[in-house]
Structure formats: C-alpha cells, structure tokens
C-alpha cells in the first residue's frame, strides 16, 4: 500500500517537473528581451552569428526546440553556459555540493534549536522566558536574512575579527580529499557564520510552530493522564506532547523549504558562498540564460523532492493516516 502511494507521488512529481520545465522554456522564449541578442555581438559576422545560433539550436522552429530541450533535459544535458563556456551540468555539479552543505548545516541547526526552543517556550509559557521569548523567533523571521547577514559581517567579521566575511575557504587553500574539503577547520570556520545567520532565519518557523502546536496538544486528555501516571514533566513534554505536536511542523516543512531556498540564495550572495544560489543570481546578471535555466530546474527539482519526502515522513509519523 505504501509503495503504491509512493509511486503515485513520484508520478505527480514527474508531471509537475515537466510542467515547470515547460513553463520556464516558454518564459525564456516569450518574454520581452531577446535572449539571442545577449550574446550576439553586432560586430560578429553573419557566419559566426549563424554558427552560434546553430550550435545553440536557436534557429530551429519552436516545437523542435522544445522537443530538443525536453530530450536534453531527460538525458541530463542542461545546455551550454554562455558565460563560462562550459556545460551547465558541469557547473551545477561543481556548485551544488557547496549549497547542500550550507543548507543542511543551517537547517539542521535551525530545526534542532527551533523544536527544542519551541518546546521550552510552551513548557515555560507562564514564566518570563516564555512570554518574552517568542519575540526572538518573531524578530528573526521578520528581518530579511541578507540584512542580518550584513550586520553580522559588520560586527563579527570586520569589527571583531571572529569569522571570515566571505567565501568558503581561505584563498589559496588546497584540499587533498573530500574530508579535507568539507571538514577542515578552515572550511568550518568559513561555514560557521553563514550557517548561523541562515539558521537564525529558518528557526523562526519551527520554533513558533512547535510552541503553538504544543499549546494545542496541552488541552488533550492523554496529557493529563500521562501526568497522573506519575511520569516526569520532562517526559510528558518531550515524549508525549512533542510527538503529537510534531505533525503540523512536518507539514509546514513545505513553507519552510520555500523559505530556505530563497534564504539560501540571498545568504550565498551576501557571503559570497560559491553555491548555486549565488550562481543563479550572477547568471541572471550576466544574462547567461542556459545556466540560469538549468539551475532553476535543479532548485525546482530539489524543492519537489523535499516536499515529497516531508509528506512521506508525515505518513510515517501519524499512525492515523491511511492511504
């Protein structure tokens, strides 16, 4: 039963992916701003121009272009970057791991701190911590993450010299293996600030949502009974209430993922972190449409897959749901 549901979800995912790919294809073709003009120099000769058009398939009729595009996409060929003069796929492969590392680090911290913080805010809701504590996640959710990044860099990097202000590693650093690439002290030092700022932004949602959700569960009778059974308050909070309160948080993950994608892009930009977020901004600034398009598809796919995973997790967590 589970497998049939899974298959259905994957099918929906593929259809959605196809729709989004088509959408972006037509967006690029139909919106004002001739994409070809961007890399065609008036100074080029007609032959060179024709040659470039031929190479990028831009002189074929629209439906042929579309089929070619779809074919390439399925085969993993994302096109050729105008700016870098390399296959888009390669560029994505280069930058994607960096984004993943940053996103995973930030989200992990955000969710751990967020959930535990939310439990505490709910548990101690009658104390001063509980009443004023909700302002913290509220603040960080209202503050644009690039701004908190800028402020953090201003104070923590430039003024007090605690963290590097940009990049993923110090210039000139050579890494020998994967471990050294992603686990070296230098790397971690560079990762710390962007991940922290991103985490502060992301944690707002799980923290406030956990708190609200916990408060709703408090009214349930099994909570009273758990206390009547003589279980410690901590156990009641973390084992009984939280488990029930988690369900809405998992569904809210869709919103969280949306925030994370946007947040990541802007954070990478502020910290000059070499990931696909930053690259997509640079690509659009450079009018490098194949690159922008390819990255967009990768991001869209990531969002869809994570949403599907979140749904799967929800079904696993809630024994009352059937499919």
């Amino acid at each position: 039963m589970y497998w049939r549901y899974l298959l259905r979800r994957i099918l929906t995912l593929l259809i959605n992916f196809w729709i989004v790919a088509t959408l972006i294809f037509f967006m690029f073709r139909f919106l004002p701003g001739d994409p070809t003009a961007m890399f065609l120099d008036p100074s080029m000769t007609a032959e060179v121009r024709a040659g470039i058009l031929e190479r990028f398939g831009l002189n074929r009729p629209l439906h042929e272009q579309y089929l070619l595009y779809m074919q390439n996409l399925l085969g993993g060929d994302f096109g050729w970057s105008f700016y870098y003069n390399r296959p888009v796929g390669e560029i994505i492969a280069d930058y994607l791991p960096n984004t993943v590392v940053l996103a995973v680090a930030a989200l992990t911290v955000a969710y751990l701190v967020g959930v535990v913080g939310g439990v505490l805010l709910a548990w101690k809701r009658n104390s001063r911590l509980g009443e004023w504590g909700t302002l913290i996640p509220l603040f960080f959710r209202s503050a644009p993450v690039f701004w908190t990044g800028m402020v953090a860099v201003m104070f923590l990097s430039y003024r007090w010299n605690l963290f590097p202000h940009r990049g993923m590693r110090s210039p000139g650093y050579m890494a020998d293996n994967l471990l050294e690439k992603f686990a070296s002290p230098d790397f971690l030092h560079h990762l710390a600030l962007p991940a922290l700022i991103a985490a502060l932004y992301y944690m707002g949602l799980p923290m406030l949502l956990t708190r609200t959700s916990m408060l709703e569960v408090f009214g349930e009778e099994f909570v009273d009974l758990a206390r009547a059974r003589g279980l410690s308050e901590r156990r009641v909070m973390f084992v009984h209430v939280l488990r029930n309160a988690l369900l809405p948080i998992v569904t809210a993950t869709a919103v969280a993922i949306g925030l994370a994608v946007g947040g990541n892009i802007v954070i990478e930009y502020v910290f000059s972190w070499p990931g696909i977020g930053r690259e997509i901004v640079l690509a659009t600034q450079n009018r490098d449409y194949p690159l922008a398009q390819g990255m967009f598809m990768v991001i869209a796919a990531a969002v869809m897959i994570t949403n599907m995973l979140a749904d799967m997790v929800y079904i696993y967590l809630d024994p009352r749901v059937s499919f």
Partner: protein, 345 residues
C-alpha cells in the same frame, strides 16, 4: 492498620477565574473504608470531577486546594511535596478517566503506553513489562494480540478496558473512575461495570465512581454520596440512600428516575438550576429549589448529621424525612420551591 483508606476532611477546592474565586468544593468530609466502592453522584458543575482531580492533585493551573486535608492511609496528599506526590501517583491511586476516547496517546501503541508506565515507574525490564501488559489485557478481557495496535483501532468499549488495564498496571489500592461509562452504549456499559466489580472483588480494590448516572451507582456501589453545589449533601449505603433518601435533593433525583411500572410513574423535574459558586448563597445551598425550605434554611448552613445508622445527610429536617419522601414523589410538590415559583411565572 485502620479500616479507613481515604479520610477527606473539610476539603475545599478553589478556582481563580476572571470573575473571581469560585469554590468548586466546599468543606467536604468523607471517609472511605478499604475494599469498598463508592459512587459520587451529582449534576454537572456540582464539583464531583473537581473532587476527583483534587484527589490525585491534578487540578488545572487556576485551581488549588484551599483548605482541608486528604488523608490517604495516614499521609496527607494535599500537603505532599511534588516529588513524593509523583512517587505516589498511579502506585497508590490510579484513575480511569472520563472519555477513554482521548485518554490514550494516539501516536503510540496501546501496549507501549502500558509498558512505559511499568518501565519508567517500576524499573521493570522491557520484556517483563510487555509480558505483564499482556496479562493486564487478559485481565480486562482484551486479546493480548492487540497490544501493538494504536488507540484509533480500538472500539469505544475496548478503549475503556484498555484504560482500566492501564490503571491496574502498578497495582494501586484506590481507583478513581471518572464517568467511566458515559460515552458507552448500555450493553458495553454493563460489561465494563461488571469488569470493574470483578476486579474490585479479586484484588481488594477501593473504587470511587464519579457519575451523574444513578443507575450505575445503584448497580455497582456499596456506598453512595450525593454532591450539590460543591457540598456533600448525603452519604450512606447505596440501597439505603436510594430507598430512603434523607436529603430533598436526593429525593428529587430518585423521583426523576423511572421505576416500577412506568404507567404509574410520574416524571419529576427539579425546577431551577444550581447556584453560582462565585457568590454562594447563605444557608443551605439547595434552599432555592427545595420545596420544604423554611426561613432557617436560608440562614443556617446544615451540617452532615447521622439521620440513620451510617447514613448521613445535611438537612435541618432529617426527622421529617419520611413525610418529605412521600411529597417528593408528586411532581406538583416541586413547584412549591422558590425556583418552581419563578418558573411558573
């Protein structure tokens, strides 16, 4: 070792509400012998559920025990420190809650919740705990194969049995059953009541039934107490209280239940409603709805007095009980009260 397991002395419970303090239970005194079942009846808001919660000290945040003592085998529960209290919970006093629908955590297996209680509270090993959980299930009449099911997979009656099994998990001496059969249909209700009675006989349990249903009490309880507006107004052996009630309120309750040949029975309804407990009336709280009230009743608070051996009631006119009983059977009598007069307008 005295015969009295639970000795409640002048217990008062107050809730702090936005409109002021409400004394939900007023100076309630009750003595419960071991191995006996007692039913506490009363209409909604009379304070019986508050009493139950006060006994296990699980009042909501705005409630507190404002006076009196609860002596459980010599120990005053009302004054216990939180740590000792937690220690005592479930081991000595357990609860079968109202509406088993929501009393089990929906995301954990039913058996797991039993096991958790035993492992965390008694330090039992997991395997031993699961085995004992199976035994508990059998004891209440559920197939042990259902241990790994989730609450939503149980029927209403089964859930109630499961909560009874849960209550028995640490072999308590006192069980408080708060409206244990309210949400169940009549057939299931009968079986649950039988189960509770069997358990009481087998294990020498003391059970307090909190209910608004007189028939439940009549069928299962040795002793019976009637609460009204936060006070205990009558108390005694069940059969005696039912056959020869001493307090007008009890008389009204009993007259309202059809008995004998329905064709001969006339339904009685007590007009009016219980008083607001923010400003409790002076004198007897039932005065307003009592057809036998006099001026004395509005001034003096009646104390519990022994109207018959082992049978107590809080009324100034116990000596006239027989006459009052006669009158109480007639519906017209009840319109003689102040509340009845108001309603007639």
């Amino acid at each position: 070792m005295s015969n009295i397991l639970l000795d409640i002395q002048q217990l008062s419970v107050t809730y702090e509400t936005a409109r002021g303090p409400v004394q939900a239970v007023s100076e309630l005194s009750l003595q419960l012998p071991r191995g006996v079942s007692i039913g506490i009846v009363g209409e909604s808001g009379c304070g019986k559920t508050t009493l139950a919660k006060a006994l296990i000290r699980l009042l909501p945040t705005n409630g507190r025990i404002s006076g009196g003592a609860i002596n459980f085998d010599g120990v005053d529960i009302a004054r216990l420190s939180p740590k000792k209290l937690r220690n005592m919970r479930w081991r000595e006093i357990a609860m079968v809650p109202q509406s088993a629908m929501n009393s089990l955590n929906p995301v954990y297996q039913v058996g797991a919740q039993l096991v958790e209680t035993m492992v965390v509270r008694e330090g039992m090993a997991k395997n031993a705990a699961w085995k004992r959980a199976g035994e508990l299930f059998e004891m209440v009449g559920i197939n042990p194969s259902r241990l790994h099911d989730y609450p939503h997979q149980f029927s209403g009656g089964m859930k109630q049995r499961a909560t009874i099994a849960l209550a028995m998990a640490l072999s308590p001496r006192l069980i408080i059953a708060d409206e244990p059969t309210t949400a169940l249909d009549v057939l299931v209700e009968a079986r649950i009541l039988d189960l509770l009675r069997d358990l009481k006989e087998t294990y020498g349990l003391t059970i307090i039934y909190i209910t608004h249903d007189l028939s439940v009490v009549a069928r299962t309880c040795d002793l019976m107490g009637v609460m009204y507006a936060g006070k205990l107004v009558e108390f005694g052996p069940t059969q005696q209280v039912i056959r020869q009630p001493l307090h007008p309120y009890t008389m009204g309750l009993i007259a309202a239940v059809p008995k004998g040949d329905i064709r001969d029975w006339e339904p009685v309804a007590i007009p009016g409603s219980p008083p607001e407990l923010i400003h409790p009336p002076e004198g007897c709280r039932f005065m307003h709805r009592c057809p036998f009230a006099t001026a004395t009743c509005s001034v003096d608070v009646p104390a519990l007095a022994e109207g018959a051996p082992g049978h107590w009631a809080a009324c100034h006119y116990l000596h006239q009980a027989e006459q009052m009983r006669e009158d109480a059977r007639i519906p017209l009598t009840w319109s003689r009260s102040l509340a009845g007069a108001v309603e007639a307008i």
